[in-house]
């Protein structure tokens, strides 16, 4: 019997399921960051808003990267449904600490995917995911730097702090 499944699909089927779950997570991240951008905008924190608008777009490119990878390899990429996200924050620090917690969750999810692809000997997906491993490290670092800036500047006004967030925009 021909191994049609393997000839049609280059990646492991259960790994594909997890990649589809990851597509949903990236889309959900994009929506969450859009809500954060909106909050910052409403507070007049333009640099922070710009930072989160850029993050929202970045998450969408992450989503598309995985989407294309699944379809290019003969799989069935599923357009994600996103659920409601939080729009209420009490401070800029809360926004960034939520963002950091979110990124840590995404990192764990990527690591689980790497572990699964290795367990199933799906080395193509493993190699593909290495970009995401590095990317997650960088994203966590960025969020932590933002939190450091906010903590250092407790005596500064919110607008002064927002000025310093601009440094992150140029670093990105």
């Amino acid at each position: 019997m021909k191994d049609i499944a393997r000839q049609e699909l280059s990646i492991h089927i259960e790994v594909m399921d997890m990649l589809n779950d990851q597509i949903q997570k990236e889309a959900q991240s994009s929506t969450a960051y859009l809500a954060m951008a909106s909050w910052c905008d409403q507070q007049g924190l333009e640099n922070s808003a710009q930072f989160f608008y850029a993050q929202a777009e970045e998450e969408r490119t992450h989503m598309m990267k995985i989407f294309r990878f699944i379809n290019d390899n003969g799989g069935n990429a599923m357009a994600p449904a996103t659920s409601a996200v939080n729009h209420d924050f009490t401070s800029l620090e809360e926004v960034f600490s939520d963002a950091l917690a979110h990124e840590v969750g995404i990192t764990k999810s990527i690591h689980k995917l790497v572990a699964k692809s290795r367990a199933e000997h799906d080395y193509a997906t493993d190699a593909f995911l290495q970009w995401f491993v590095t990317e997650q490290m960088e994203e966590e670092q960025t969020m932590r730097r933002a939190l450091d800036i906010l903590k250092l500047g407790e005596k500064m006004s919110l607008l002064q702090l927002d000025e310093r967030i601009a440094e992150l925009n140029t670093a990105q």
Binding site: M1, K2, D3, I4, A5, L9, I13, D17, G75, N76
Partner: protein, 99 residues
């Protein structure tokens, strides 16, 4: 036609000649490409049986192969179909190991 898996009144076959799959739904046969089989699997995967047990739904209407076919399944059918597709993909994965 090679039998991949049978469960209750459902079976899945693979044809090396046409490179298609044939799913027998208790009398009615549907030919599917691998891609269509994947999407059939995905549709089954997305059915939450919990809603059946809670009494909200007792039937599922599934349109297969880009709306070429329409099926109505009850809870038991869905349980069996989920098992059928799971078994068929495991059987295909074993081919991969054996060859």
């Amino acid at each position: 036609m090679n039998l991949l898996y049978t469960y209750q009144k459902f079976s899945i076959f693979q044809s090396d000649v046409t490179r298609n799959f044939q799913v027998d739904f208790a009398g009615k046969s549907v030919s599917m490409s691998f891609c269509e089989l994947l999407s059939f699997r995905e549709k089954l995967k997305r059915i939450d049986l919990q809603t059946h047990f809670e009494g909200a739904d007792s039937v599922e209407i599934l349109s297969l192969c880009n709306k070429r076919h329409l099926f109505i399944f009850d809870t038991l059918d869905i349980i069996h179909l989920k098992e059928l597709v799971r078994g068929a993909f495991i059987s295909m994965a074993y081919q991969n190991v054996l060859v």
